[in-house]
C-alpha cells in the first residue's frame, strides 16, 4: 500500500524517514530537530531511529550550521538543514547565496553543494513581523539556488524526496499554516515531475497561478467563481526555480486571462516575476492585463485582524477574478 491519508507534517517527516533509510549520507541538522522533534514537530522521533550523529541538535548559530552543511555537502554528506523560520534567512544568507549557491559556478564545476535547506514561512499565527514572512523571492533571486514550496500533502513528500536527489542546494519552504492539513499521500506517485507545475483545477475562463498555502485559497475562490459561471484553472508552481513555464503559458493562451497570487509582500515578489513572464510570452493572447494579487507591502502586524487583512484570501481572489470576467462589479470599486 503506497497511498494513505495523512497530514502535510507527516508527509514531510515520511520523506525524511525514507531518505534517511535509503542513504546513510543524509543527515539532519538544526535547532531542536532532535530531542524536541522540530519546532513544528516535523522531525519527531527521527533521533531515536537514526541517532544523534545523523539527527543533530545544533546551538542557536544559524550562519554556522548552514555553513557547516555547505562543507558537509562538499565532502560527501547530504545535509538537510532545518531553519526554524524562514525569517531567520537573513542570518544565513551569505552561506546560502554567496557560498552554497555559487560554489559550483565559481569553482568551474568542480565543487558541488547538494544540500537541502528546509524551512517554513507564512502568516496565520499572529507571530508578528519576524516570524511570519514569505521570503521566497530572496531565494528566487539567487542563481544557483533551487527553490520549491509544497502546497499539498503529496508534494510535502515528493518534493522533498526530489530535492534530496538534486546535486545542487535546494530551498524547501513549508507553510506553517499547512502542517495539520490532511490529504492523500501516494509515495509511489508524485503530482508532477520535478521542475513542473501542477494543474490543480481546470477551467476555460481564467488561469490562476499560485503556490504554497495560496493554492488552497485559489481553489476556494475557483469554487466561488464557478457558482457565478466562471471556470478557473488553478496552477500550483511547486518548483519555483527553475521552473518550466510551458504549462502555464499554454493555459493562459487558452483562457486569455491570468492572475498570479502570492502571500508575500507583492513588490518584487515571485508573483511579479511570473506575471512578467506571462506578459512577455502571452501578450497577443491576453484579454485583460495580467493581475498580481499579494500581501500588502508592509511588515506583518501582530494584531490578528491586521495580519489577516494584509494577505489575500479566497474572497479577494474571487472578486478580482469575476471582475476580470466583467460578470460582476467590484464591491469595493
Amino acid at each position: 500500500m503506497t497511498a494513505q491519508q495523512t497530514t502535510y507534517r507527516e508527509a514531510i517527516r515520511q520523506a525524511l524517514l525514507d531518505a534517511m533509510a535509503e542513504d546513510d549520507d543524509v543527515i539532519l541538522i538544526g535547532e531542536e530537530v532532535g530531542v524536541y522533534g522540530g519546532a513544528y514537530g516535523v522531525t519527531k522521533g527521527l533521533i531515536d531511529i537514526y541517532g544523534a550523529d545523523r539527527v543533530i541538535d545544533s546551538p542557536i548559530s544559524e550562519a554556522g550550521i548552514v555553513g557547516a552543511a555547505v562543507g558537509a555537502a562538499m565532502t560527501g554528506l547530504k545535509p538537510v538543514v532545518e531553519l526554524m523560520y524562514v525569517d531567520f534567512i537573513g542570518l544565513v544568507m551569505d552561506q546560502l547565496a554567496n557560498q552554497a549557491a555559487k560554489s559550483r559556478y565559481m569553482f568551474g564545476g568542480q565543487i558541488e553543494v547538494p544540500m537541502v535547506l528546509r524551512t517554513q514561512g507564512g502568516t496565520g499565527r499572529s507571530a508578528a513581523a519576524q516570524h511570519s514572512q514569505s521570503l521566497e523571492a530572496w531565494m528566487m533571486h539567487t542563481p544557483g539556488l533551487r527553490l520549491c514550496m509544497p502546497a499539498t500533502v503529496n508534494d510535502g513528500y515528493h518534493l522533498l524526496r526530489d530535492a534530496l536527489r538534486q546535486r545542487d542546494p535546494v530551498c524547501f519552504i513549508e507553510h506553517k499554516g499547512l502542517y495539520t492539513m490532511k490529504g492523500n499521500l501516494d509515495t509511489a506517485r508524485a503530482d508532477a515531475d520535478w521542475g513542473q507545475p501542477a494543474i490543480r483545477r481546470t477551467g476555460g475562463d481564467i488561469t490562476i497561478v499560485t503556490y504554497s498555502r495560496m493554492v488552497h485559497e485559489a481553489l476556494k475562490a475557483a469554487d466561488a467563481m464557478a457558482e457565478q459561471g466562471v471556470e478557473a484553472t488553478v496552477i500550483d508552481l511547486r518548483c519555483l526555480n527553475p521552473l518550466d513555464m510551458a504549462p502555464i503559458l499554454a493555459s493562459v493562451r487558452d483562457t486569455g486571462r491570468a492572475m498570479v497570487v502570492t502571500e508575500a509582500a507583492l513588490t518584487g515578489s515571485v508573483a511579479s516575476e511570473i506575471a512578467a513572464r506571462i506578459g512577455e510570452s502571452c501578450f497577443d493572447w491576453l484579454e485583460e492585463p495580467v493581475l498580481r494579487i499579494g500581501g500588502e507591502d508592509i511588515p506583518i502586524p501582530v494584531s490578528p485582524k491586521l495580519e489577516a487583512g494584509s494577505i489575500p484570501d479566497a474572497g479577494l481572489i474571487a472578486e478580482t477574478g469575476l471582475w476580470m470576467m466583467r460578470r460582476d462589479t467590484l464591491a469595493w470599486a
Binding site: 530531542v35 499565527r125 502586524p301
Partner: protein
C-alpha cells in the same frame, strides 16, 4: 519609623512581584483567547533582572530578547499598555503591530524587544557610540538569553564595544534553556564570562535568585561602563515554565522542574525582607495584593481595549511625511477601471 531605612530592596521586591503577577496574567490572557498569538515567553523565575534595571538611570537605553516583559516593567513600563500590546490592541506600546516579542518604548529607553535571537545585541554598541560621541554619560544594556551566547553577532558586538571603549553592558539572562535544549547541550564550555574576558570586557556573574547580589554587581559594572569600560554580566536562573505559553517542557523531568522552581527570586527576596525587618508580613501582603490588583486591572483593560483600525496597517512602514504604501485594492481598482 527609621528615616535612614533603605527602602530600595523593598522597591525591588515590589517590582519583582509585579513582574510575576504580570506574567501570570499574560498566561491568562492567552487562555482566554485574548492574546495576539501564542508566542508568549514568560520571564517567571528571572525577576531578579530588576537588580540590573534598578541600577540603570534616566536616559539609559536597552534592548531585550523575546523574553523581555520583566526587563521592561523594571524600567517603568505601564503594564496596561504592555498587556494591550500583547493582545494586539491599538492602545499597546506599538499600536498592536509588534506584540509580546516586539514591545518597545523610545520614551522609556526601550529600543526594542527582538524575536531574532541575538538581533538586538549590536544595537547597544551603536547606542554606546552615540553616548560616547555626544558625551551624554548614558549607558546602553543588551539583555539576551543563554541561547544568544551561540550567535556570532554577539562576539562582533563585544569586540567593538571593547575596542572602542563604549558605555555598554551585555547582560546574559541564563535560564539554563534555549527552547528544549539545556545549555550544556548547546555549548562546549559553559564559562560564558571567560568568553567576554577574552574580548577585553569586564565580566561578572550573579546569582539570579538574589536580586541584591544582582543589583550590587550591576551597579559596579554599569559605573565602569559609563567610564568607558564595557562589561558582561551573566545572571543565572531557571526558566520556570515552558519556552512559550504552549510548551509543556516534555524534554525535562518534573523533578528537575520542581528543583528549579525552588530557585525563586521573588520568594527569596520576600523572605529576606521579612527576616531583616525591612518589611513585616503584613507589609508584604499589602505589596502582593496591590501588585495582583494592578495586573488584574491591566488584564481586563487589555481584554476590553479596541483592536487597531484596519487601515492603520499601512502606517509606520515609512516616515509619516511620505506616502504610505497603497492598499492593493486601490491598485487593482485603478487597473480594472482605467480606460484609454
Amino acid at each position: 519609623m527609621n528615616a535612614q531605612k533603605n527602602t530600595a530592596p523593598l522597591d525591588r521586591y515590589r517590582t519583582m512581584r509585579r513582574i510575576r503577577s504580570f506574567e501570570e496574567r499574560v498566561g491568562e490572557l492567552f487562555l482566554r483567547g485574548e492574546s495576539a498569538g501564542s508566542m508568549l515567553h514568560l520571564s517567571i523565575g528571572e525577576e531578579a533582572v530588576v537588580g540590573v534595571t534598578d541600577a540603570m538611570g534616566d536616559g539609559d537605553t536597552f534592548t531585550t530578547h523575546h523574553r523581555g516583559h520583566g526587563v521592561f516593567l523594571g524600567r517603568g513600563a505601564d503594564p496596561a499598555r504592555m498587556m494591550a500590546e500583547i493582545g494586539g490592541k491599538a492602545d499597546g506600546y506599538c499600536r498592536g503591530k509588534g506584540g509580546s516579542m516586539h514591545i518597545a518604548s523610545h520614551a522609556l529607553g526601550h529600543l526594542g524587544a527582538n524575536a531574532i535571537v541575538g538581533g538586538g545585541i549590536p544595537h547597544v554598541v551603536g547606542a554606546g557610540l552615540t553616548y560616547r560621541n555626544k558625551g551624554t554619560g548614558h549607558v546602553s544594556v543588551a539583555f539576551f538569553g543563554d541561547g544568544a551566547m551561540q550567535q556570532g553577532i554577539l562576539y562582533e558586538a563585544m569586540n567593538m564595544a571593547a575596542l572602542w571603549r563604549l558605555p555598554v553592558i551585555f547582560c546574559c539572562l541564563n535560564n539554563q534553556y534555549g527552547m528544549g535544549t539545556r545549555i550544556d547541550r548547546a555549548v562546549g564550555k559553559l564559562a560564558f564570562g571567560e568568553r567576554a574576558e577574552a574580548f577585553g570586557l569586564q565580566a561578572a556573574h550573579a546569582d539570579g535568585t538574589d536580586v541584591e547580589e544582582v543589583h550590587d554587581t550591576a551597579q559596579s559594572l554599569i559605573a565602569d561602563a559609563r567610564g568607558g569600560k564595557p562589561g558582561f554580566l551573566e545572571i543565572s536562573s531557571f526558566r520556570f515554565y515552558g519556552h512559550a505559553r504552549m510548551d509543556k517542557s516534555p524534554y525535562r523531568t518534573p523533578e528537575e522542574e520542581e528543583e528549579g522552581r525552588k530557585r525563586d527570586p521573588v520568594l527569596k527576596a520576600r523572605e529576606r525582607l521579612i527576616e531583616s525587618g525591612l518589611g513585616s508580613d503584613a507589609d508584604m501582603e499589602r505589596i502582593d495584593t496591590k501588585a495582583d490588583d494592578e495586573m488584574d486591572a491591566a488584564l481586563e483593560s487589555a481584554v476590553t481595549a479596541s483592536p487597531p483600525p484596519l487601515d492603520t496597517m499601512f502606517e509606520d512602514v515609512f516616515h509619516p511625511d511620505s506616502p504610505a504604501p497603497a492598499p492593493q485594492r486601490d491598485r487593482l481598482r485603478a487597473i480594472l477601471t482605467e480606460t484609454p
